[in-house]
Symmetry: C2
Subunit: 351 residues, 2 copies
DNA sequence: TTTCGCGCTGCAATCGATTGCTGAAGGTCA
DNA sequence: TGACCTTCAGCAATCGATTGCAGCGCGAAA
């Protein structure tokens, strides 16, 4: 199958010549060499304005566009950025998780702004090759990795020889790659202090601390607890998948009847918890106050609306893409840490 | 910049030879020709098992993977599927719309299952070239278009000569391309009949009927109304962007004080309407009943939970991808129409 | 009129993998 | 021992665009 299905056999009605399949065809039609056509279309090198415009007009009339594959092969540039989600923790986790989708949306917009395309890969890292496999095959000019998961070592080892790489997630002490993420510890502290300031003393942290971001938030939770006498905090390592999470949380709530405050490490988990609470006729925020993390669109839509620690994902996406393109251009770039912000709504404070 | 940043200069500690940059290098190291290496790695053609395994082992040891660009150029296959969202109606519409993201998530999963990659493009079709530009440059083996928007003509004209193309959206009478979508008219009818059966008589349809899917739902709305004496229905062409939608809806609600039932053409719009109603102290479902369309995850999470017309997006994604791969394989394929399903929750019926 | 210079264009190599065809090596059979 | 077949590997062309270098032609200066 030398020509893939489709090809370019179609032609506009009334086109003068057969639709050119490649730059050579067009060159023949125009009566010049392929080199000239290439220069005309790319606008590079020495070429007379007359010739350039003539060839461009012809190309547009015959509806010809040069092959990106061939150009990429020759130039080594692809015009494509890879976005990759390693789902290390939850094999069944879905790419359609709202947090991920929101961030992806912003990233897609920013990448599109620069005229690049976005190659999306979801990988379940069951072997340490997952990243180099993506990097090596040369289909992208750079990669954005969303969430280290538990794969920081692998990322480090690839980052050693592959520069154009940015990671969304926690800033880890031993990382040699650039990352963009919130100050998770501070965020955790803010959330917890908020609960404490409202009088909560029997707190719970919902989230799996084997994920680096979550661990940092948990540290912030503990920081805040240490400052208040009589306050206690339990940790429930909730799964990320909604069904599992509901089960985990329901079991916990049935036992924890003294509970008066919940800090959930994501809005998704918080909302699940909210539902579990309401199902059990425990009033929010009167009996139990609950605060999430991320401040996704969802948070505003629940009843009561969810308090949360806002991560500015739009700014984060901007930073990720900006850093990546700088790296591609060869600049030295620093990691970025975003300031989280407390957003208070009805799930912690009644109207 | 002949070698893009990064390259493959890195080597594993203790690797015997320098890391091969291409198949030729590896061939030299292995003492065979490039052709043999190619056959060994691809597993094609005549090659002895001994040689094949030896070369594979060597490749894996030296961490070599052949260039996808070069392979694509030669074979005409890319291992990539394009997913493209034409945002014809709302220039400012965001790719991170929950409906789109949900569908994209499922599609991404299905495509990944087949070992393909997903090239995501968001385009604002300001000229009729937008699609052929994507198709021509030969970076994908096929394309999934999410939503015709108002671009059915353009899609038709490309479909005439480019076969591997599937569209999510309305089935239109004059389309020559394959589409996957719900029976929107039936869905609209189900939703409206539901409202009518609960006693609603002053109905409103929220949605912009210049979008084909929406128009079909509106037809279903009218079908149902026709059957009931004394029932009236207004149409409010709400924008898709949340801010605009809120404004549109708020203005309408302030005037329409007799309103007792709303059919919104998406859950997003329904939720916006729900909020606008609650802001105005109009009880849902007692004063006004409201039903959405899509049955996204969101719908379950509002209070009261949103009744909706379920589109099975998971099945839809499956069908889209299945059809696309069949087309790529050269099969003749038919369009698919999914059966929508009424999902009743608290926004139309109190517990 | 000759020479030099400059602006364009073409030639041909190149990016890296694939694949049809050729032919060498080794085995089989008469 | 010789003819013939099978198996496997290499040669070289190919995909389509890019780009360093060579060279042509024309105008200007001497």
């Amino acid at each position: 199958m030398p020509k893939s299905a489709g090809g370019k056999s179609g032609a506009k009605t009334g086109a003068r010549a057969a639709r050119p399949n490649n730059i050579q065809d067009l060159a023949r039609i125009a009566g010049v060499s392929a080199a000239t056509v290439s220069r005309a279309l790319a606008g590079t090198g020495n070429i007379s304005a007359t010739t350039r415009e003539r060839i461009r007009a012809l190309a547009s009339e015959l509806d010809f566009r040069p092959s990106n594959m061939a150009r990429s092969l020759r130039t080594g540039r692809t015009g494509t950025v890879g976005v990759i989600v390693p789902l290390g923790h939850e094999k069944s986790q879905h790419i359609s998780d709202p947090f991920f989708m929101t961030l992806l949306g912003y990233i897609a917009d920013r990448i599109a702004d620069r005229g690049y395309d976005l190659l999306l890969s979801k990988v379940v890292p069951h072997d340490p090759e997952w990243l180099s496999r993506q990097v090596d095959t040369g289909r992208v000019d750079g990669m954005i990795i969303i969430g280290q998961s538990n794969q920081s070592d692998v990322i480090n080892s690839v980052a050693r020889f592959y520069n154009p790489l940015v990671v969304w997630g926690a800033a880890l002490p031993d990382q040699i790659y650039c990352s963009v993420g919130s100050d998770n510890r501070l965020g955790g502290k803010l959330a917890t202090e908020h609960l404490l300031s409202l009088g909560c003393r029997k707190l719970a942290f919902f989230g799996d601390p084997s994920v680096p971001e979550v661990e940092q938030r948990l540290n912030g939770f503990r920081d805040a607890l240490r400052g208040v006498e009589g306050a206690v905090g339990a940790t429930l390592p909730v799964h990320f998948t909604p069904e599992q999470a509901l089960e985990d949380i329901a079991g916990f709530l049935d036992l924890a009847d003294k509970l008066d405050g919940i800090f959930a490490t994501s809005d998704t988990i918080a909302i699940t918890a909210l539902q579990a609470l309401l199902d059990r006729r425990r009033a929010v925020p009167q009996d139990v106050k609950i605060i999430g993390f991320d401040d996704l669109d969802l948070a505003r839509r629940t009843v009561p609306a969810l308090s949360s620690v806002r991560q500015d994902l739009e700014a984060g996406a901007e930073a990720l893409v900006d850093i990546l393109f700088r790296k591609i251009a060869g600049e030295e770039v620093e990691s970025v840490m975003l300031q989280p912000q407390l957003v208070v709504r009805g799930s912690t404070v009644s109207d």
